[in-house]
């Protein structure tokens, strides 16, 4: 696997790759985030769980600059990234796989992947990453010339993740990768996520599927109405009776 970012390592390997402090975001006149703090260390898989509307997607969107930050700080590799445009953040090595995949349905699978490499446009890197992706998701390899809109939901999710990998990110943000996907494919996707992390990509993922998220991550944050309610190693959270009652169906 060569999907990790080859050219721009973090400035300080000891610091957290991503550090969010007291983040507040207003969305449509309502305080959607009321002071969220979290950090993601290099090489970690961190999950954010919580009910619908708890502010998970809002957190991700404000990290990548799609939503304006009202208060708080976000640092990436030791540098503040608040107020930076999403295009610049992609260039800096942060890549978001948005909720609902947002693939380009009228473009072919290959064209979708090529667009992922828009930030560097390096032929050699593209070729290598493509080879890795075909290994990671053999199903995509068979469908390169197909229009992306004809893929199944699970295949579209694979495409969306792969498209982000084409940019060679250091930090991959995944928004609900299991949403609306057949259980068998969810399994495959989370195996792939583990492989991606093993190749050196740091991962912050947001999930409503608590069981899968806690199993796949090192640490997790529980978000409740715009605030961090709990956090800790995923194994501990999975054993927490309160979490079990609220999110794991007892």
């Amino acid at each position: 696997m060569r999907v990790a970012h080859p050219v721009r390592p973090p400035v300080d390997a000891n610091a957290a790759l991503l550090e969010v402090t007291d983040l507040r975001v207003n969305y449509g006149g309502i305080a959607a985030l009321k002071g969220v703090s979290l950090h993601v260390g290099k090489g970690e898989i961190v999950a954010m769980i919580g009910a619908n509307g708890a502010g998970k997607t809002t957190t991700l969107k404000s990290i990548v600059g799609l939503l304006p930050v009202a208060h708080g700080s976000i640092t990436y590799a030791g540098k503040s990234i608040v107020g930076m445009a999403v295009e610049d953040l992609v260039e800096a090595g942060i890549s978001l796989v948005p909720e609902g995949r947002a693939i380009f349905p009228t473009l072919t699978v290959l064209e979708n992947l090529e667009l992922g490499a828009y930030v560097h446009r390096d032929k050699k890197t593209m070729r290598e990453t493509l080879e890795d992706i075909v290994q990671l998701f053999p199903r995509l390899g068979e469908r390169m010339k197909q229009e992306a809109g004809t893929l199944s939901g699970g295949e579209q999710q694979m495409l969306a993740i792969s498209r982000s990998l084409m940019a060679r990110p250091s930090l991959l943000l995944l928004d609900e990768p299991s949403l609306g996907i057949a259980p068998k494919l969810v399994q495959q996707i989370f195996v792939a996520i583990a492989q991606i992390a093993a190749a050196g990509v740091t991962i912050l993922l947001v999930e409503q599927n608590t069981r899968v998220a806690l199993r796949a991550s090192h640490r997790a944050y529980v978000l409740r109405t715009g605030e961090i309610a709990k956090s800790g190693p995923s194994v501990e959270l999975a054993a927490d009776p309160e979490i079990q009652a609220a999110y794991l169906g007892g």
Partner: protein, 291 residues
């Protein structure tokens, strides 16, 4: 024989209309607005072409004049297109995003830009009809070949270049395109430049054939081109080409009948019928994304 003749003329006309239609369709793709000013860019190109052709020496060097006129017109109109976007459209895009006026404001702005350019031409060049010199004996085949060449060129740009891919990505999903690192403003500006330069080629070709430039010429061709874009499915590039050719051929066929005013009326009738029966156009499909 008369029918074959009309068909050939129709193809040439249609190719030219398609070049203009492409500008409407590409801009609609990236901005989701009808750039009414596109027809005036076409008109301005006709004047630029005319002046350059006259400056080069016109009939003395027909090939040089035609190529020079076209190239300069393409360049000038790219600049004009970018300027329009920069001065008029970009500010309202930033301001009206998400507001209840988000639909009406671009429409009024585009109409106003169109009226402004048309009357500017009236002031700059007067309302006089200015004849183009007869550079070639038989312009129809030239028009058709150039139009086809331009479309092939466009197809390559759209399919093979990074700009083309970025433009298509932006047309389908702006946020996702930005998440890929696509620079929205730059891509939009380049789309205007490309669309305007295609219209410029169309304008010079049109004038070489129809031989006149005048300030209100944009309305007629602009309408036909717009209808062609809608007919093919607005936002759809092959659709605009198909629509252009169809409108060209239909127009020439109507001219064979006794009703001379028919072409203009028919164009609008086709427009309304398409919008009512199949707003997505012939090639446009409203795709439902799988969940």
């Amino acid at each position: 024989m008369k029918l074959i003749d009309a068909l050939m003329t129709g193809l040439a006309q249609g190719g030219m209309i398609a070049l203009v239609a492409l500008g409407y369709t590409m801009v609609f793709g990236v901005l989701k607005m009808i750039n009414f000013a596109h027809s005036e860019v076409f008109m301005m190109a006709a004047y630029v072409g005319l002046f350059v052709i006259a400056a080069v020496g016109g009939t003395a060097h027909p090939l040089l004049a035609a190529v020079g006129g076209t190239v300069v017109a393409m360049f000038a109109c790219s600049l004009l297109g970018i300027t329009i976007e920069r001065i008029a459209y970009r500010p309202i895009r930033a301001r009206t995003r998400g507001s209840k006026l988000a639909r009406v404001t671009p429409l009024v702005t585009a109409l106003a830009v169109s009226v402004l350019l048309q009357n500017l031409a009236q002031l700059l060049f007067t309302a006089r009809y200015r004849p183009y010199p007869q550079l070639f004996q038989n312009t129809r085949p030239i028009i058709f070949v150039v139009a086809i060449a331009m479309m092939v060129f466009l197809e390559l740009v759209v399919k093979k270049t990074w700009f083309g891919k970025a433009m298509r990505a932006l047309s389908t999903n702006e946020e996702a395109a930005r998440l890929m690192g696509v620079r929205t403003s730059r891509t939009i500006a380049m789309t205007f430049a490309l669309g305007s330069s295609l219209a410029a080629v169309g304008a010079v070709l049109y004038c070489l054939d129809q031989s006149q430039a005048y300030p209100t010429m944009g309305f007629k061709i602009g309408t036909q081109a717009f209808v062609a874009a809608v007919l093919g499915g607005i936002g759809n590039i092959p659709g605009a080409m198909l629509g252009g050719l169809l409108i060209g051929i239909i127009g020439e066929m109507v001219k064979l009948t006794s009703y001379s005013g028919g072409v203009d009326v028919l164009v609008f009738v086709v427009l309304i019928l398409v919008l009512l029966a199949r707003p997505a156009g012939l090639l446009g499909t409203t795709r439902v994304e799988k969940v």
